[in-house]
Protein backbone atom coordinates (compact mmCIF):
# COMPACT_ATOMS: atom_id res chain seq x y z
CA UNK A 1 0.00 0.00 0.00
CA UNK A 2 1.17 3.53 -0.77
CA UNK A 3 3.01 5.18 2.12
CA UNK A 4 0.82 8.30 1.95
CA UNK A 5 -2.31 6.16 2.31
CA UNK A 6 -0.69 4.39 5.26
CA UNK A 7 0.18 7.78 6.71
CA UNK A 8 -3.45 8.90 6.48
CA UNK A 9 -4.53 5.72 8.23
CA UNK A 10 -1.89 6.28 10.89
CA UNK A 11 -3.20 9.81 11.39
CA UNK A 12 -6.78 8.58 11.58
CA UNK A 13 -6.19 5.69 13.95
CA UNK A 14 -3.43 7.41 15.88
CA UNK A 15 -5.33 10.60 16.73
CA UNK A 16 -8.53 8.69 17.44
CA UNK A 17 -6.58 6.30 19.63
CA UNK A 18 -4.95 9.11 21.61
CA UNK A 19 -8.32 10.77 22.18
CA UNK A 20 -10.03 7.51 23.13
CA UNK A 21 -7.32 6.54 25.61
CA UNK A 22 -7.27 9.97 27.21
CA UNK A 23 -11.07 10.07 27.39
CA UNK A 24 -10.82 6.70 29.12
CA UNK A 25 -8.33 8.22 31.57
CA UNK A 26 -10.78 11.09 32.06
CA UNK A 27 -13.39 8.53 33.08
CA UNK A 28 -10.91 6.84 35.41
CA UNK A 29 -10.01 10.15 37.06
CA UNK A 30 -13.66 11.11 37.52
CA UNK A 31 -14.42 7.70 39.01
CA UNK A 32 -11.44 7.76 41.36
CA UNK A 33 -12.20 11.30 42.52
CA UNK A 34 -15.83 10.36 43.22
CA UNK A 35 -15.06 6.99 44.85
CA UNK A 36 -12.17 8.22 46.98
CA UNK A 37 -12.85 11.82 47.97
CA UNK A 38 -10.37 13.81 49.98
CA UNK A 39 -10.87 13.60 53.71
CA UNK A 40 -9.41 16.13 56.10
CA UNK A 41 -9.18 13.40 58.79
CA UNK A 42 -6.58 11.54 56.74
CA UNK A 43 -4.29 14.55 56.77
CA UNK A 44 -4.83 15.10 60.52
CA UNK A 45 -4.09 11.41 61.23
CA UNK A 46 -0.90 11.59 59.25
CA UNK A 47 0.26 14.72 61.04
CA UNK A 48 -0.42 13.20 64.47
CA UNK A 49 1.65 10.02 63.64
Amino acid sequence: MDDVVLGMQLMQYGLSGVFLVLILFYGVITLLMKALPYRAEDDENKQSQ
Binding site: D3, V4, Y13, V18, L22, F25, Y26, V28, I29, L32
Partner: protein, 420 residues
Protein backbone atom coordinates in the same frame (compact mmCIF):
# COMPACT_ATOMS: atom_id res chain seq x y z
CA UNK B 1 58.70 9.58 4.79
CA UNK B 2 55.87 7.03 5.14
CA UNK B 3 56.57 6.71 8.84
CA UNK B 4 56.56 10.48 9.14
CA UNK B 5 53.16 10.57 7.37
CA UNK B 6 51.85 8.02 9.85
CA UNK B 7 52.71 10.39 12.69
CA UNK B 8 50.50 13.09 11.18
CA UNK B 9 47.66 10.84 10.02
CA UNK B 10 45.10 13.02 11.79
CA UNK B 11 46.18 16.14 9.91
CA UNK B 12 46.24 14.32 6.55
CA UNK B 13 42.80 12.84 7.19
CA UNK B 14 41.28 16.23 8.15
CA UNK B 15 38.49 17.53 5.89
CA UNK B 16 36.30 20.61 5.48
CA UNK B 17 33.15 18.75 6.62
CA UNK B 18 34.67 18.44 10.08
CA UNK B 19 34.81 22.22 10.36
CA UNK B 20 31.12 22.48 9.46
CA UNK B 21 30.31 20.00 12.23
CA UNK B 22 32.49 21.91 14.70
CA UNK B 23 30.37 24.96 13.89
CA UNK B 24 27.17 22.93 14.41
CA UNK B 25 28.48 21.62 17.74
CA UNK B 26 29.64 25.10 18.67
CA UNK B 27 26.21 26.59 17.95
CA UNK B 28 24.56 24.02 20.21
CA UNK B 29 27.05 24.76 22.99
CA UNK B 30 26.52 28.49 22.50
CA UNK B 31 22.72 28.10 22.71
CA UNK B 32 23.15 26.02 25.86
CA UNK B 33 25.51 28.37 27.69
CA UNK B 34 24.68 31.85 26.44
CA UNK B 35 20.94 31.48 25.82
CA UNK B 36 20.23 28.80 28.44
CA UNK B 37 18.38 26.64 25.87
CA UNK B 38 18.07 23.17 27.44
CA UNK B 39 21.73 23.22 28.50
CA UNK B 40 21.61 19.77 30.07
CA UNK B 41 21.13 18.21 26.66
CA UNK B 42 22.36 20.67 24.08
CA UNK B 43 25.83 21.10 25.60
CA UNK B 44 26.66 17.36 25.73
CA UNK B 45 25.10 16.86 22.28
CA UNK B 46 27.19 19.73 20.89
CA UNK B 47 30.40 18.41 22.39
CA UNK B 48 29.63 14.86 21.30
CA UNK B 49 29.19 16.17 17.75
CA UNK B 50 32.66 17.72 17.91
CA UNK B 51 34.23 14.56 19.36
CA UNK B 52 32.88 12.22 16.70
CA UNK B 53 34.05 14.53 13.91
CA UNK B 54 37.72 14.29 14.82
CA UNK B 55 39.87 12.30 12.34
CA UNK B 56 39.24 8.54 12.20
CA UNK B 57 36.36 9.03 14.72
CA UNK B 58 38.34 7.10 17.27
CA UNK B 59 35.81 8.03 19.98
CA UNK B 60 33.32 5.89 18.02
CA UNK B 61 35.52 3.02 16.84
CA UNK B 62 39.15 1.96 16.91
CA UNK B 63 41.31 1.24 13.89
CA UNK B 64 40.28 -1.93 12.09
CA UNK B 65 42.46 -4.97 12.80
CA UNK B 66 42.89 -7.83 10.34
CA UNK B 67 41.45 -11.08 11.71
CA UNK B 68 43.03 -13.99 9.87
CA UNK B 69 40.84 -16.61 11.52
CA UNK B 70 37.60 -15.00 10.40
CA UNK B 71 39.13 -14.32 6.96
CA UNK B 72 39.73 -18.06 6.61
CA UNK B 73 36.21 -18.91 7.86
CA UNK B 74 34.44 -16.65 5.36
CA UNK B 75 36.59 -17.85 2.49
CA UNK B 76 35.63 -21.46 3.33
CA UNK B 77 32.00 -20.61 4.18
CA UNK B 78 30.94 -17.48 2.22
CA UNK B 79 27.38 -17.76 3.55
CA UNK B 80 28.68 -16.74 7.00
CA UNK B 81 29.88 -13.35 5.68
CA UNK B 82 26.59 -11.62 6.48
CA UNK B 83 26.59 -12.98 10.03
CA UNK B 84 30.06 -11.62 10.77
CA UNK B 85 29.24 -8.24 9.22
CA UNK B 86 25.75 -7.74 10.68
CA UNK B 87 26.08 -9.37 14.10
CA UNK B 88 29.76 -9.15 14.99
CA UNK B 89 30.67 -5.80 13.42
CA UNK B 90 33.30 -7.06 10.98
CA UNK B 91 34.22 -5.20 7.80
CA UNK B 92 35.07 -7.28 4.74
CA UNK B 93 37.39 -5.74 2.17
CA UNK B 94 38.97 -7.60 -0.73
CA UNK B 95 38.12 -10.89 0.93
CA UNK B 96 39.87 -9.87 4.17
CA UNK B 97 37.95 -9.62 7.43
CA UNK B 98 38.71 -6.69 9.71
CA UNK B 99 37.48 -6.46 13.27
CA UNK B 100 36.41 -3.01 14.30
CA UNK B 101 36.39 -2.57 18.06
CA UNK B 102 33.78 -0.11 19.29
CA UNK B 103 34.95 3.05 21.01
CA UNK B 104 33.52 4.29 24.30
CA UNK B 105 30.67 6.27 22.76
CA UNK B 106 29.63 3.39 20.52
CA UNK B 107 29.54 1.15 23.59
CA UNK B 108 27.29 3.71 25.29
CA UNK B 109 25.17 3.96 22.15
CA UNK B 110 24.77 0.19 21.81
CA UNK B 111 23.98 -0.34 25.48
CA UNK B 112 21.99 2.81 26.21
CA UNK B 113 20.26 3.93 23.02
CA UNK B 114 19.81 0.77 20.94
CA UNK B 115 18.44 -1.03 23.99
CA UNK B 116 16.27 2.05 24.81
CA UNK B 117 17.70 1.93 28.33
CA UNK B 118 18.60 5.63 28.64
CA UNK B 119 15.21 7.03 27.53
CA UNK B 120 13.25 4.74 29.87
CA UNK B 121 15.50 5.58 32.82
CA UNK B 122 14.86 9.24 32.09
CA UNK B 123 11.14 8.43 32.20
CA UNK B 124 11.52 7.13 35.76
CA UNK B 125 13.10 10.46 36.66
CA UNK B 126 10.44 12.48 34.82
CA UNK B 127 7.67 10.49 36.49
CA UNK B 128 9.16 11.30 39.87
CA UNK B 129 9.06 14.99 38.98
CA UNK B 130 5.47 15.12 37.70
CA UNK B 131 2.61 16.21 39.93
CA UNK B 132 -0.66 15.02 38.38
CA UNK B 133 -2.89 16.80 40.91
CA UNK B 134 -3.64 19.85 38.68
CA UNK B 135 -5.00 17.41 36.12
CA UNK B 136 -6.87 15.32 38.69
CA UNK B 137 -8.53 18.50 40.00
CA UNK B 138 -9.61 19.55 36.52
CA UNK B 139 -9.83 16.40 34.36
CA UNK B 140 -11.43 18.26 31.42
CA UNK B 141 -7.95 19.54 30.60
CA UNK B 142 -6.95 16.03 29.51
CA UNK B 143 -8.62 16.66 26.15
CA UNK B 144 -6.06 19.35 25.35
CA UNK B 145 -3.32 16.86 26.09
CA UNK B 146 -4.79 14.80 23.25
CA UNK B 147 -5.43 17.66 20.82
CA UNK B 148 -1.91 19.00 21.19
CA UNK B 149 -0.54 15.76 19.69
CA UNK B 150 -2.08 16.69 16.33
CA UNK B 151 1.24 18.07 15.15
CA UNK B 152 2.83 14.61 15.38
CA UNK B 153 0.47 13.04 12.86
CA UNK B 154 0.30 16.11 10.63
CA UNK B 155 4.10 16.15 10.40
CA UNK B 156 4.14 12.44 9.51
CA UNK B 157 1.88 13.28 6.56
CA UNK B 158 4.09 16.22 5.55
CA UNK B 159 7.16 13.96 5.62
CA UNK B 160 5.45 11.35 3.47
CA UNK B 161 4.23 13.95 0.97
CA UNK B 162 7.72 15.48 0.79
CA UNK B 163 9.05 12.02 0.03
CA UNK B 164 6.68 11.82 -2.94
CA UNK B 165 8.20 15.00 -4.33
CA UNK B 166 11.80 14.21 -3.31
CA UNK B 167 12.14 10.41 -3.13
CA UNK B 168 15.88 10.73 -2.43
CA UNK B 169 14.98 11.85 1.12
CA UNK B 170 14.10 8.27 1.92
CA UNK B 171 11.22 9.15 4.26
CA UNK B 172 9.30 5.90 4.43
CA UNK B 173 6.54 5.40 7.01
CA UNK B 174 8.91 4.41 9.80
CA UNK B 175 11.23 7.35 9.17
CA UNK B 176 8.28 9.75 8.87
CA UNK B 177 6.91 8.46 12.17
CA UNK B 178 10.28 9.05 13.84
CA UNK B 179 10.30 12.62 12.51
CA UNK B 180 6.66 13.27 13.42
CA UNK B 181 7.24 12.20 17.02
CA UNK B 182 9.35 15.32 17.51
CA UNK B 183 5.91 16.87 17.99
CA UNK B 184 5.54 14.91 21.21
CA UNK B 185 7.75 17.69 22.65
CA UNK B 186 9.29 15.02 24.82
CA UNK B 187 12.93 14.09 24.35
CA UNK B 188 12.83 10.53 25.71
CA UNK B 189 9.73 9.65 23.65
CA UNK B 190 11.37 10.99 20.49
CA UNK B 191 14.57 9.05 21.17
CA UNK B 192 12.63 5.90 22.06
CA UNK B 193 10.61 5.90 18.82
CA UNK B 194 13.60 6.92 16.68
CA UNK B 195 15.74 4.15 18.15
CA UNK B 196 13.07 1.65 17.06
CA UNK B 197 12.28 3.04 13.60
CA UNK B 198 15.15 5.23 12.39
CA UNK B 199 18.38 4.70 14.33
CA UNK B 200 20.40 6.57 11.70
CA UNK B 201 18.39 9.76 12.37
CA UNK B 202 18.56 9.78 16.17
CA UNK B 203 21.05 12.65 16.07
CA UNK B 204 19.05 15.23 14.09
CA UNK B 205 15.73 14.11 15.63
CA UNK B 206 17.06 14.59 19.18
CA UNK B 207 18.66 17.93 18.32
CA UNK B 208 15.36 19.08 16.77
CA UNK B 209 13.28 17.83 19.71
CA UNK B 210 15.37 19.46 22.44
CA UNK B 211 16.03 22.66 20.49
CA UNK B 212 12.36 23.27 19.75
CA UNK B 213 11.36 22.42 23.33
CA UNK B 214 13.58 25.22 24.49
CA UNK B 215 12.21 27.51 21.76
CA UNK B 216 8.57 27.04 22.83
CA UNK B 217 8.44 30.62 24.24
CA UNK B 218 9.25 31.86 20.72
CA UNK B 219 7.20 29.38 18.69
CA UNK B 220 3.88 29.33 20.56
CA UNK B 221 2.87 32.99 21.04
CA UNK B 222 2.65 33.93 17.32
CA UNK B 223 0.63 30.77 16.58
CA UNK B 224 -1.74 31.46 19.48
CA UNK B 225 -2.19 35.10 18.43
CA UNK B 226 -2.87 34.09 14.83
CA UNK B 227 -5.64 31.69 15.83
CA UNK B 228 -7.38 33.69 18.57
CA UNK B 229 -9.01 37.08 18.97
CA UNK B 230 -8.22 39.50 21.79
CA UNK B 231 -11.66 38.81 23.25
CA UNK B 232 -10.95 35.08 23.31
CA UNK B 233 -7.58 35.60 24.96
CA UNK B 234 -9.30 37.62 27.70
CA UNK B 235 -11.73 34.84 28.66
CA UNK B 236 -11.57 34.25 32.38
CA UNK B 237 -11.96 30.79 33.82
CA UNK B 238 -13.21 30.01 37.27
CA UNK B 239 -10.87 27.89 39.36
CA UNK B 240 -12.34 25.62 42.00
CA UNK B 241 -9.67 24.31 44.31
CA UNK B 242 -10.59 20.66 44.75
CA UNK B 243 -8.43 18.60 47.07
CA UNK B 244 -7.15 15.26 45.88
CA UNK B 245 -6.88 12.33 48.26
CA UNK B 246 -3.57 10.58 48.66
CA UNK B 247 -5.20 7.27 47.67
CA UNK B 248 -6.18 8.71 44.29
CA UNK B 249 -2.65 10.04 43.76
CA UNK B 250 -1.29 6.54 44.46
CA UNK B 251 -3.90 4.63 42.45
CA UNK B 252 -3.72 6.88 39.39
CA UNK B 253 -0.28 5.77 38.12
CA UNK B 254 -1.11 2.11 38.75
CA UNK B 255 -4.44 2.24 36.93
CA UNK B 256 -3.00 4.21 33.99
CA UNK B 257 -0.18 1.68 33.60
CA UNK B 258 -2.55 -1.28 33.59
CA UNK B 259 -4.96 0.33 31.10
CA UNK B 260 -2.22 1.52 28.76
CA UNK B 261 -0.46 -1.83 29.01
CA UNK B 262 -3.60 -3.74 28.04
CA UNK B 263 -4.53 -1.40 25.18
CA UNK B 264 -1.01 -1.00 23.77
CA UNK B 265 1.47 -3.49 25.25
CA UNK B 266 4.36 -2.00 23.31
CA UNK B 267 3.94 1.26 25.24
CA UNK B 268 4.57 -0.36 28.63
CA UNK B 269 8.24 0.69 28.63
CA UNK B 270 7.20 4.31 28.21
CA UNK B 271 4.08 4.49 30.34
CA UNK B 272 5.09 1.93 32.93
CA UNK B 273 8.43 3.49 33.84
CA UNK B 274 6.97 7.00 33.88
CA UNK B 275 4.22 5.88 36.23
CA UNK B 276 6.71 3.90 38.32
CA UNK B 277 8.61 7.12 38.91
CA UNK B 278 5.38 8.88 39.79
CA UNK B 279 4.35 6.12 42.19
CA UNK B 280 7.68 6.40 43.99
CA UNK B 281 6.97 10.10 44.44
CA UNK B 282 3.34 9.81 45.50
CA UNK B 283 3.71 6.83 47.83
CA UNK B 284 5.18 9.12 50.48
CA UNK B 285 7.37 6.35 51.90
CA UNK B 286 10.19 6.43 49.38
CA UNK B 287 11.46 9.95 49.82
CA UNK B 288 15.09 8.92 49.24
CA UNK B 289 14.32 6.99 46.06
CA UNK B 290 12.16 9.82 44.78
CA UNK B 291 14.93 12.35 45.41
CA UNK B 292 17.50 10.02 43.82
CA UNK B 293 15.30 9.57 40.74
CA UNK B 294 14.71 13.31 40.40
CA UNK B 295 18.34 14.24 40.89
CA UNK B 296 21.14 11.68 40.61
CA UNK B 297 19.41 9.35 38.16
CA UNK B 298 18.13 12.19 35.97
CA UNK B 299 21.51 13.93 35.93
CA UNK B 300 23.62 10.84 35.30
CA UNK B 301 21.49 9.45 32.50
CA UNK B 302 21.05 12.87 30.90
CA UNK B 303 24.82 13.35 30.89
CA UNK B 304 25.43 10.00 29.16
CA UNK B 305 22.43 10.35 26.85
CA UNK B 306 23.45 13.77 25.58
CA UNK B 307 27.01 12.94 24.64
CA UNK B 308 25.94 9.59 23.11
CA UNK B 309 23.38 11.31 20.89
CA UNK B 310 26.01 13.85 19.89
CA UNK B 311 28.29 11.00 18.87
CA UNK B 312 25.77 9.94 16.19
CA UNK B 313 26.26 13.26 14.43
CA UNK B 314 29.13 12.26 12.14
CA UNK B 315 29.22 14.49 9.07
CA UNK B 316 28.50 11.57 6.73
CA UNK B 317 25.08 11.05 8.29
CA UNK B 318 24.36 14.60 9.50
CA UNK B 319 25.27 16.74 6.50
CA UNK B 320 22.45 15.46 4.33
CA UNK B 321 19.40 17.26 2.88
CA UNK B 322 17.27 14.99 5.06
CA UNK B 323 18.75 16.58 8.20
CA UNK B 324 17.65 20.07 7.19
CA UNK B 325 14.20 18.72 6.35
CA UNK B 326 13.98 17.09 9.78
CA UNK B 327 14.89 20.34 11.51
CA UNK B 328 12.22 22.18 9.48
CA UNK B 329 9.60 19.54 10.13
CA UNK B 330 10.26 19.66 13.83
CA UNK B 331 9.11 23.27 13.70
CA UNK B 332 6.01 22.24 11.72
CA UNK B 333 5.22 19.66 14.41
CA UNK B 334 5.37 22.19 17.24
CA UNK B 335 3.33 24.77 15.32
CA UNK B 336 0.56 22.31 14.54
CA UNK B 337 0.59 20.89 18.07
CA UNK B 338 -0.16 24.42 19.32
CA UNK B 339 -2.78 24.91 16.63
CA UNK B 340 -4.44 21.58 17.44
CA UNK B 341 -4.86 22.45 21.12
CA UNK B 342 -6.14 25.98 20.46
CA UNK B 343 -8.61 24.83 17.82
CA UNK B 344 -10.09 22.17 20.09
CA UNK B 345 -10.72 24.80 22.76
CA UNK B 346 -12.44 27.04 20.21
CA UNK B 347 -14.60 24.13 19.03
CA UNK B 348 -15.50 23.23 22.62
CA UNK B 349 -16.55 26.85 23.21
CA UNK B 350 -19.26 26.41 20.55
CA UNK B 351 -20.92 23.77 22.71
CA UNK B 352 -20.17 24.66 26.31
CA UNK B 353 -21.69 27.31 28.51
CA UNK B 354 -18.58 27.64 30.62
CA UNK B 355 -16.13 29.16 28.13
CA UNK B 356 -12.55 28.00 27.90
CA UNK B 357 -9.74 30.40 27.19
CA UNK B 358 -8.41 28.90 23.90
CA UNK B 359 -4.83 29.56 24.95
CA UNK B 360 -5.23 26.70 27.44
CA UNK B 361 -5.26 24.37 24.44
CA UNK B 362 -1.75 25.47 23.54
CA UNK B 363 -0.59 24.40 26.99
CA UNK B 364 -1.50 20.81 26.08
CA UNK B 365 1.94 20.46 24.53
CA UNK B 366 4.31 18.38 26.62
CA UNK B 367 6.87 21.15 27.24
CA UNK B 368 6.34 21.36 31.00
CA UNK B 369 6.13 23.85 32.69
CA UNK B 370 7.19 26.35 30.05
CA UNK B 371 4.04 26.15 27.98
CA UNK B 372 1.76 26.79 30.97
CA UNK B 373 3.84 29.81 31.97
CA UNK B 374 3.71 31.23 28.45
CA UNK B 375 -0.09 30.93 28.39
CA UNK B 376 -0.44 32.66 31.76
CA UNK B 377 1.94 35.41 30.64
CA UNK B 378 -0.10 36.01 27.49
CA UNK B 379 -3.35 36.01 29.44
CA UNK B 380 -1.98 38.54 31.94
CA UNK B 381 -0.80 40.75 29.10
CA UNK B 382 -4.36 40.99 27.76
CA UNK B 383 -5.97 41.26 31.22
CA UNK B 384 -3.74 41.74 34.29
CA UNK B 385 -6.45 40.23 36.50
CA UNK B 386 -6.77 37.02 34.52
CA UNK B 387 -5.29 33.97 36.24
CA UNK B 388 -5.49 30.77 34.22
CA UNK B 389 -2.20 29.25 35.37
CA UNK B 390 -3.73 26.29 37.21
CA UNK B 391 -5.88 25.33 34.23
CA UNK B 392 -2.84 25.72 31.97
CA UNK B 393 -0.75 23.53 34.26
CA UNK B 394 -3.49 20.90 34.18
CA UNK B 395 -3.41 20.94 30.38
CA UNK B 396 0.40 20.87 30.40
CA UNK B 397 0.47 17.79 32.64
CA UNK B 398 -2.17 16.21 30.40
CA UNK B 399 0.21 16.88 27.52
CA UNK B 400 2.86 14.74 29.15
CA UNK B 401 0.36 11.92 29.37
CA UNK B 402 -0.82 12.58 25.83
CA UNK B 403 2.69 12.54 24.39
CA UNK B 404 3.54 9.11 25.76
CA UNK B 405 0.14 7.74 24.68
CA UNK B 406 0.81 9.17 21.21
CA UNK B 407 4.27 7.57 21.25
CA UNK B 408 2.70 4.26 22.18
CA UNK B 409 0.13 4.61 19.40
CA UNK B 410 2.83 5.25 16.81
CA UNK B 411 4.90 2.28 18.05
CA UNK B 412 1.88 -0.02 17.89
CA UNK B 413 0.28 1.23 14.67
CA UNK B 414 3.27 1.56 12.33
CA UNK B 415 4.28 -2.13 12.33
CA UNK B 416 0.61 -3.13 12.15
CA UNK B 417 -0.09 -0.89 9.14
CA UNK B 418 3.04 -2.14 7.37
CA UNK B 419 1.94 -5.71 7.87
CA UNK B 420 -1.47 -5.16 6.20
Amino acid sequence: MEQFKQLFQGVIEFRIEYIIMYIVGGVLIYLAIKKDYEPMLLLPIGFGAILVNLPFKSIWQYEAQLDETVTKIISDYPSLKEFFVEKLGYVIENGQAYKVEPGVLQILFNSGILTELFPVLIFVAVGAMIDFSPLLKNPRMILFGAAAQFGIFFTIMVALLLNKVFPSLGFDLKTAASIGIIGAADGPTSIFVASKFAKHLIGPISVAAYSYMSLVPIIQPPVIKALTTKKERMIRMEYKDVKVSKTVLILFPIVVTVIAGILAPISVSLVGLLMFGNLIRESGVLERLSKTAQNELANLVTLLLGITIGSTMHYESFLQPATLMILLMGLVAFVFDTAGGVMLAKIMNLFTKEKINPMIGAAGISAFPMSARIVQKMAKKEDPQNFILMQAVGANVAGQLGSIVAGGMVLALVPWLLSL
